[in-house]
Point group: C2
Chain length 397, copies 2
Amino acid sequence: MKRLTCFVALLFSLIVSAGSAAQDASEPLLVEKQSFSFENFETLGGEVIPEVTIGWESYGELNEAKDNVILITHFFSGNSHAAGKYNGDDALPGYWDSIIGPGKAIDTNKYFVISSDTLVNAFPHDPNVITTGPASINPETGKPYGLDFPVVTIRDFVNVQHRLLTSLGIEQLHAVIGASMGSLQALEWSIAYPDMVERMVSVIGAGAMDAWTIMTLEHWARPIKNDPNFNNGDYYDAEAPLTGITSTLAMITQQAMHPVSMNMRAPKPEVLPEPALESVLNSTPVLDFLFANAAQRAPLADGNHLLYLVRANQLFIAGHEGDLASGLAKVKAKTLFLPAKRDLLLQPYLAQQAVSLLEQQGKTPGYDEIDGVWGHLDGLFSIQSKASRIEAFLETE
Amino acid sequence: MKRLTCFVALLFSLIVSAGSAAQDASEPLLVEKQSFSFENFETLGGEVIPEVTIGWESYGELNEAKDNVILITHFFSGNSHAAGKYNGDDALPGYWDSIIGPGKAIDTNKYFVISSDTLVNAFPHDPNVITTGPASINPETGKPYGLDFPVVTIRDFVNVQHRLLTSLGIEQLHAVIGASMGSLQALEWSIAYPDMVERMVSVIGAGAMDAWTIMTLEHWARPIKNDPNFNNGDYYDAEAPLTGITSTLAMITQQAMHPVSMNMRAPKPEVLPEPALESVLNSTPVLDFLFANAAQRAPLADGNHLLYLVRANQLFIAGHEGDLASGLAKVKAKTLFLPAKRDLLLQPYLAQQAVSLLEQQGKTPGYDEIDGVWGHLDGLFSIQSKASRIEAFLETE
């Protein structure tokens, strides 16, 4: 439990000395990872998962009325660790520690903030992650599910979180807030449980996947599917498809960034480096910067989990029925959309599409762009620039 | 010789009915593919290729003084076929037919326009392509070179073209013009042969590869390197790495486009399509649109050639010595840079970097952005919007 989520660790390591996303490390919130299990979960696709276990953590205190709850939903490569530290000597706090904590935008003196790991989390071998997916043991066979695990959707992630909240007696959400894939969950929450969600914040998000993004996600899946070790997802007794996973993680890392931030951090390209001239198979320091780092993280990920996450995202359209307008018609929550201006992965037009449809329905979604040089990752590293906007939104009646 | 270059054919098929890049199909210029060979070519890396053969074609007439020559250098997935048709019944003309021809911006009534296939062309199995690379027969062994072929650079492409022009008695270029990888060659021409090049036009181009783009290119290489059939480049007696090549071509196609143009052309994503819910391995119409098309073109490409092209581009820094400023210091040509406003592959900052350095050297590069919804491909499909700018530039003294 002392390890950091590696994806976050990598990205934070990139910004060491950048100073552009300084974390407030004073008085670290100490948090504890917990576990929640239940049986016979029926998916949106009509399949039943006999046992589901997910990890979760919380910051602040649940009040007696249980009406001060803010749910944080995590991004593709993330997990429940949104704020605080598990141990005082952890190198880094959770990914949104700059806005979650005592006196911060999401004030843990006022709110009970809770966050859980999703189903099919990308990094099931990260000791901080507790998830259920293809790498989990199928109680019917005593072996990992592999591709026998049912395809799951963002709605399923939401329904699992709903079970967790119900188990805690929580029937109302002051707000649900998420970045990237977390934004899909946040929006889906406000449609699946419209009477329960009072406020919804979508950070670097979308209302539905467009063809462009569905294709982008497929590029993340193909290196794993085409890895010689993949074996139709049945590799748990043999070598894992680590080469494919490495390609996938490297693509995700790059696409979540922007040329400005990448070029600031990466080694300067050399002029006619000897090894690169000797063979097309030889690497260079620039390539090592991206791929060697991804290779280090690959063993904590699972190939099948990544494929299931890709599929869950590809299938996303808020409400999962008819068209996007039909889904958004069910939203009762106040909404705020915060795309990142230089996002190359989920460009602002995706958030704008949802905002525009909500406005056509007579609603008043808030909209503001996060400025920064990180691209998609400005949703994490530059979120502090929208702290007061988020704080004010949470205080609206 | 009747086939169209498949990459171009695909992209043009995408815009059928779009009408945004209408080709002027009246009075098609009829052109003939020719071949040029020479021996003992020494690469920038100091290796010798015993025999080089490349294809070329021309439009217009070489005047007696041989001073009306415009060289067109091709993009990554392209070849010499920049304008006209090989046969009157070809479905489509060359890729820049909208600006090359009698009375057009690059007026073949005035200029002798010539274009050649590069070394290590991506599609050596396209019957319209004549190239030398790893798939060519090594005269020393009687078998394909595979990875014994020396790594080549953009400078080598230029030097081969120089040999072709010299063989035709051409010692002066009125202009050299290229898009994307063609822009790298055009700029390199003006540094390698500064007294020979009078004008240089860089379309959707760069002065040097930055770390970001070097990484992007590596994503194109890895599916081939990691294909089980790759066998260290030695697959010519066995199955080709077509699965990897398909991934690569699909990535290139997407990255050369923009969400707007892609979403206009691709099928509308379905809500909870049954096959996609049944297995993460199942495809959808959106994915087929991209990947099935790429799979169709894959047999005309060669895996090793793609790796060599990737490497040539990764190694590009204009002048190939010291830093970019040192290379650009040698430029004597008048220059014009035309990046595409919505380019996601070679974003305008790359052209701006070269322009800024040239200005610091007291030169007066022209700069203008191509507007459109195609992204990188606006350099092909929207080039007509800059026809008068190019025409005027070619008329400057």
